[in-house]
Symmetry: C2
Subunit: 208 residues, 2 copies
């Protein structure tokens, strides 16, 4: 199994490094994926939304066929939905992949590639209205959601929960447990302020 | 306020990108830090523990005086504790900094720089015994802990909780709330398997 993580200028850092970390820990397990790689349009350095500079492992032309493609979000998605090379890459890889995942506003890139039509999906709380306005997506306000081969998550840090849920589904609870323990992903339950009272708070947060 | 995040070969990716994301979101707020930068020994690309390749913003010789230094962990710490240039950098910056933070096995680098003697500190659950064996650290099995200007956390993902706790202490609960909301850091409480029964489970996990 090859897992590819797409990056582009102004990609949000944690959106993709969260899943990168967990998928890479999965890779170390017996029966984990063979390869995890970071793919961009070219091999030039990519500067992310908060200024981190990264060197991709593969370009669109050198990337092998992927079994799993993860598309993160970030400010850059506003521009990349119009980048036909990137949208075509997602569409082409999705054809052969068993699963396509998005984190945060990466959902808009999946939509641009025609992958969300009539599907249940979610995104960062601040962009739920914008996803709804596209008209052909069944927007749910969950932390993570799956609809067939398409998995989407809420914003930024939610990619961690998405990746673990995906590992649990693909490789079983024991593999997910090993990855969660290795990453010591037992987050504090401290909530600062009262985000559930925010007028745009997503349903999963209002319920909690 | 300048925040520097140290990286080195085989640094664990999420250890530093978690805090990087949250500190960078803090930076966007009024009265947030002026600069967040990634520092390494030289400006050459740094390959992290799981293969991510990064281009630092500053080298040890070009790095400005830091108000806050965050030291992540990872397999590379086993070697870097013997790297006098890196240990000296930590020690020198710590003298002028108001706070030094470590994530995961970054605690061993703080120790090499003489910053943990007689102090309360923690690390990844798998390395607690090794930290205890150093003999001069008061090891606590908490997710995050503060002892004066020294803040340390448990493994990998715990850097997210550490960074938020630090922002709350420095800038108040309202700033921490804005950052937490922007990063949508309201993690799922799903626990795979029974990690609290692991023979090396840290106290905070056994309690939960």
């Amino acid at each position: 199994m090859n897992i590819g993580i797409l990056i582009f200028p102004q990609v949000e850092e944690l959106d993709f490094v969260g899943p990168w970390e967990l998928f890479s820990l999965w890779q170390r397990l017996e029966n984990g994926p063979e390869r995890c790689l970071v793919v961009a349009e070219t091999l030039d350095p990519v500067v992310a939304a908060k200024g981190l500079s990264l060197n991709p492992h593969a370009s669109f032309s050198t990337c092998p066929p992927l079994d799993v493609l993860l598309v993160p979000g970030g400010q850059g998605t506003r521009k990349e939905v119009f980048n036909t090379a990137l949208v075509d890459f997602i569409r082409d890889q999705a054809e052969g992949a068993g699963a396509v995942l998005s984190v945060c506003t990466g959902a808009f890139l999946l939509h641009a590639a025609g992958l969300l039509e009539g599907r249940r999906a979610t995104t960062h709380w601040g962009s739920l209205d914008r996803l709804r306005a596209l008209g052909d997506v069944e927007v749910v306000e969950e932390r993570t959601t799956q609809d067939g081969p398409i998995w989407t998550s809420a914003g930024v840090s939610a990619g961690l929960d998405l990746a673990l849920a995906f590992i649990a589904e693909r490789a079983g609870e024991e593999a997910a447990a090993e990855v969660q323990l290795a990453a010591e992903y037992f987050p504090s339950d401290i909530v600062y302020g009262t985000p559930s009272r925010h007028p745009k708070a997503p349903a999963y947060l209002r319920r909690s």
